[in-house]
Symmetry: C2
């Protein structure tokens, strides 16, 4: 029982800090997206493609917070595209929390950022339980992981506004059934938006970024946002 | 500080139960392998191929414990091969622990099993921290996850006796550099054995199962075992 009460205390403290972060994001007029997915699902590559596409089609500026167990590799990849990026190393920790985020936000020029991506630790389980103060969670699922993963790991998909299915160029080399995957995703979360992209060729990136830009505009009309 | 002390208490209690499990496995002459890896890395498919290959080349019998956040799908796949299998659902939990294992061991005919695989929850982070009483951890890494994953998620590889690199049929379709991956794995853990397999064609399965059978024989000569 002690273990459960401690965990509930951690979650309550996290929720308070997440709300504080969300108020800060609202005051700076930033749309914040928390990106979840397994190791190697294509989160960083999706962000690279998204930064290029948003830069090409809009005047909006992007910032990124990279969460990793170890290394600065993802931050180096994003930084090479010329956008502000902060690396959080969790030193073995399996997810980001609102306190980790709070501790680095002063290092970002938030008032100059329109869309802030937080790339969570590669883990399809733990990050789903921790609100960071984002306006939406987006889960990345690669074709090579298999079409059974939404049903086997439902929490991240249940809490997401959108799932981006990546590596569609490898569909023919796998037994991934796209119809089954989408039906299972909708059974878990009927309001989930689903996009299919190939980060190598850029196929599907346009539709996903249009959803993102529409979300940014909708958020501004609402003058703020909340966790969805 | 409270949070850290509670976690240390959990780990100490887990260690005691893991040692108890290991003594039970020793008394029943079972080699126990704890299989780690990301969602979709190919853990269940590797076990399916291994069960077939061990059945074909030796008279040894295999049992499996399947750990999942949700569903009985993996246990159904393994059960279809006619080997004893138990499904543990963690109800959202991100790893198996020694207590979960202890609670199901009575349901397996341990004295009739030569090699027991425990397929952990698909998660490259958390399961590495919890000894279950196994004799060795084996980490599964798929080519489609990327060659940077050992360095980004070192703990599982550091604690493993062996890493099986899967989906080698997709090498040409990815930017995975096998030399880099193996060099990084050896830098993390110089005694790590590395095998390359394709679960679809069966390539490489023989070398991996020979390692497994040698480990089984070595364990019997030592009359027991310990966590490696």
């Amino acid at each position: 029982m002690t273990e459960i009460r401690v965990f509930e205390g951690i979650l309550a403290a996290n929720k308070r800090l997440a709300e504080q972060n969300r108020r800060l994001f609202g005051s700076r007029d930033v749309l914040v997206i928390n990106v979840l997915g397994s190791p190697g699902s294509g989160k960083t590559t999706l962000l690279e493609q998204t930064i290029r596409e948003v830069g090409r089609t809009s005047g909006l500026s992007i910032g990124v917070i990279e969460g990793d167990v170890a290394t600065r590799r993802d931050a180096e990849r994003i930084g090479a595209l010329g956008v502000p990026v902060i690396q959080i190393n969790t030193a073995g920790g399996c997810h980001l929390d609102a306190n980790m985020l709070d501790s680095v936000l002063d290092e970002l020029p938030l008032s100059k950022i329109d869309i802030l991506f937080i790339e969570n630790v590669g883990n399809l389980v733990c990050p789903a339980g921790f609100d960071l103060g984002e306006h939406a969670k987006v889960t990345v699922l690669s074709v090579t992981e298999g079409d059974d993963k939404p049903t086997k790991y439902p929490a991240a998909f249940l809490k997401s506004a959108c799932t981006v299915i990546t590596k569609t160029d490898l569909l023919a080399q796998t037994n991934f059934n796209m119809d089954v995957a989408i039906a299972d995703l909708k059974a878990i979360n009927s309001s989930l938006e689903v996009f299919q992209v190939c980060n190598t060729t850029g196929d599907g990136i346009e539709a996903w970024t249009q959803w993102l830009l529409a979300k940014r505009n909708a958020g501004r009309e609402q003058d703020g946002g909340d966790e969805r």
